[in-house]
Subunit: 358 residues, 3 copies
């Protein structure tokens, strides 16, 4: 693995991903061989918004490698509440630790952190933008449950419009040959144009469905997500449709024996509890695969990290500033303005990937 940080899963090549998948499996089969692998090493889990699930997964991964964990989960208790900049926090804490895991509600915050960190940075969720270790978890689960990442018919069900984990999964799996995507949702919550663009470009087959019941028999993989009441135009519409996107044992009767059901968790009621006892339900195992995926990632990152060093200063590429209010640049004014030029010639913010509005 060549990457120093993990900000966006798209930065990893298929070879990098394959390396991580293989290593996760080796650790899973021989956990005792790795129990002291990170002895004497420390990761910091800096959670500017709470996410117990993700934080515990990283903590456990590091502890199962024999390493130590510092961090916070409560921005109110941190120096942040005294008005300290992200930069200063990262400069100080990267002196203490060997890896920084950051979750922050602002888009591009992990990239910003990586500019000031002597230690490698892992993005554990930057607002609605990216959450690469969730997708890594999904990929590792698929590999060990299906034996392959290609030639799969993948159903994605629920909120395809807003779900960052769904977008990231589509982007990643569309790089593998022969995959076919069925996006099961209401018309309001269907895939955004940029995801359609990704699919078009990849050459993968894809289709839309508004019925889980009708589509389920075709699927090798069913990726369920939460669908939130507030996403619907009216209460009536929600009531009318909500049953369609609840997976229950009745709908499962039509599914293949070899189907694997995934869910990023936490679930609310989009999968009924009796499905948990169906051998095709893999969402709890998925959480365990996530732990091994994160162990593999930490091992690789620490193997890379020969000498802790402050990254060189980056200068602004443009005078314009991003105007996305959820972009990290909107709160951390010292950050350089960084843009790339999109296909249509418009500027795209390197932090949040929003197009600069004219």
């Amino acid at each position: 693995m060549n990457a120093h940080n993990l900000i966006d899963l798209a930065e990893l090549s298929k070879e990098d991903l394959d390396e991580l998948i293989q290593l996760a499996g080796v650790i899973m089969d021989n956990p005792l061989n790795y129990m002291d692998d990170c002895h004497g090493k420390i990761i910091a889990t800096l959670f500017y918004e709470p996410s117990t699930r993700t934080q515990m997964s990283f903590q456990t991964a590091m502890m199962r490698l024999g390493g130590r964990v510092i961090g916070f989960d409560n921005p109110v208790n941190s120096s942040v509440s005294k008005g300290e900049s992200l930069k200063d926090t990262i400069r100080v804490i990267s002196n203490y630790t060997d890896v920084i895991v950051i979750r922050n509600p602002y888009e591009g915050s992990a990239l910003a952190a990586s500019m000031f960190s002597k230690a490698p940075v892992i993005n554990a969720g930057d607002g609605g933008h990216l959450h690469p270790t969730q997708t890594l978890t999904d990929i590792v689960t698929l590999w060990y449950e299906k034996g392959r990442l290609d030639h799969l018919t993948i159903g994605l069900c629920g909120d395809i419009k807003n779900g960052r984990t769904v977008h990231s999964l589509i982007k990643t799996l569309s790089k593998y040959e022969g995959n076919r995507f069925i996006m099961i949702s209401t018309s309001q919550l269907q895939a955004p144009q940029y995801i359609i663009d990704v699919l078009e470009e990849s050459g993968c087959e894809y289709s839309f469905s508004n019925s889980l019941e009708e589509s389920i028999s075709e699927l090798d993989v069913l990726y369920m997500t939460r669908i939130q009441r507030e996403r619907f135009a009216s209460q009536e519409e929600y009531e009318a449709q909500k049953g369609i996107y609840v997976l229950d044992t009745q709908k499962l009767e039509k599914a293949k024996e070899s189907l694997k059901i995934l869910h990023p968790l936490p679930r609310v009621d989009e999968i009924t509890v009796d499905v948990d006892y169906d051998p095709r339900a893999k969402y709890f195992e998925q959480a365990e695969y996530g732990m091994y995926a994160r162990m593999a990632l930490i091992v690789k990152m620490l193997a890379n990290n020969s000498q802790k060093q402050l990254p060189p200063k980056i200068e602004s590429t443009h005078n314009e500033m991003c105007r996305n209010p959820r972009c990290i640049t909107s709160t951390e004014s010292y950050l350089p303005n960084l843009f790339t030029t999109g296909e249509d010639g418009r500027l795209v913010c390197s932090y949040c990937e929003h197009e600069l509005e004219k």
Copy 2:
């Protein structure tokens, strides 16, 4: 020790208890022999309500065994606040850890957790119901301070009506021969009928007293508890009686030299601070015994736990549902209805031990 989980101390035989007591002593005498006993192992302390004392005691116990700790103490920060069920949290976290320690304000919550956990579960307090490791702490303290658990005159002072630790201690010590209980309290806060039933059945001598001063000279053990203002019918009655249940050096003058004073802590003002310097005061040592007791428990549990496995699905035994609003079944609707039939033929909820009202 045969038990896989520790939900209720009553599940342990006298032989099990004796094993734990002996092991606590061995660890106390040779802590260095155990400092790496749990190397590579993890416990999760899931505290749905804060209890710094109990949580730190478990954390320290695991760390002194060379193991690691994950967990939370703040339900607001946890996935719980996103509406995740207890079941899903336990399913995920029991993938990460080797033992789960749970504290939850609902009665029966630890039993419920154990139904979905691949790892053994320790009940660290389920509402006003049970708190078995506190009683284990008390028993270990008595054994090493008195040299025996039988033929003791035990004074229990304060709130005997509501104190779950007092009930559990009476239930446990009444199994040993020749013990005699003096319950020192106001008439409003005296022992409930079911504790009297336990004592009657055990054949132990017992009596009631409303004066600590009058009873103290007879005691081998004095177990003090907090007595709360709000438990009294009126402010006058509280004022009139409160001094009677405060242990001070003057009252101690009448006590035996061999008396041992215990208190589950935290105390408020029911023991004056000058008593702390009396060699008979053992409540701070008790906290230390509690650490060794928990170390012994963790060692035994991990020795048992050969292969992590999901428990088999449990089906409802009855159609009725428990109506106790503090029972875990009142918030976690997927739990099976489980009842046993009491002596009078009424149904008793297996989670909270409340009788089902007709």
Copy 3:
């Protein structure tokens, strides 16, 4: 090092300080030699008010020595909120741990804690009173950045009146020969009389300045601190002066090449971010030196600590009680009244060092 606790840096001799400085350097050069030095040991970080920076520095220090950490950072979640006294908390937790690190908003709280602790106590900040490990950090930074602690011209800039870290640094550096202090501030925020007394007694040269720009060229060391709007008599005065105490690259042009800039952090805007890239800026390195300083302190303290023992009971020296509302004695009524007699014959509280008002 002879001291059992570290409550006040003034308790350490120059030899003690030198020992700590040298050891910090040895650890810095050979961290792997110390990675298991505290294997099997535990520190407790009891933070009655949050200070993520300081707490993480201690946690990291202990973890880099192979030890374990328990503690809290949120008094709301702790037994404290159930009305437990400081004494009881310390009695219990000092049974669990090998060192106690305490931060508490009341002045003298660390001294009070040390009276009831079986384990050595480190003061991590007791209100506006003392914060010895910050000064230890400053001293270690100076030694390794300047190569000496004497014959330095030290500029202290910002709030010299209220800054406890500035006072402590002056007190410590005034013990070394040939140091010269320039206190750069507004007249309202200049050094208090007792600091002037310390300087007079030490024989060190000192002067006052109200312009950073004018004084900067003379300095070997510039110690910046936060200057708070609310300290000024009026908004106008703040606006008029605030730029004077902001360090920017323009002011730095007049400074020596060998200048070293320190800041206890977190900064707000008293140093502009472009200064961070100047090689003279050492405030982020200072945080790293702080970690090594704390590692050295913990190693020394644990080496001292042969047998854990409760300190002997201390009796009041006087009947009078301290009347400082921020003194720990104002909330913990069981503490003995302890006073020393100052030079003018007035009584000085041993906890908070306030003179007893007649």
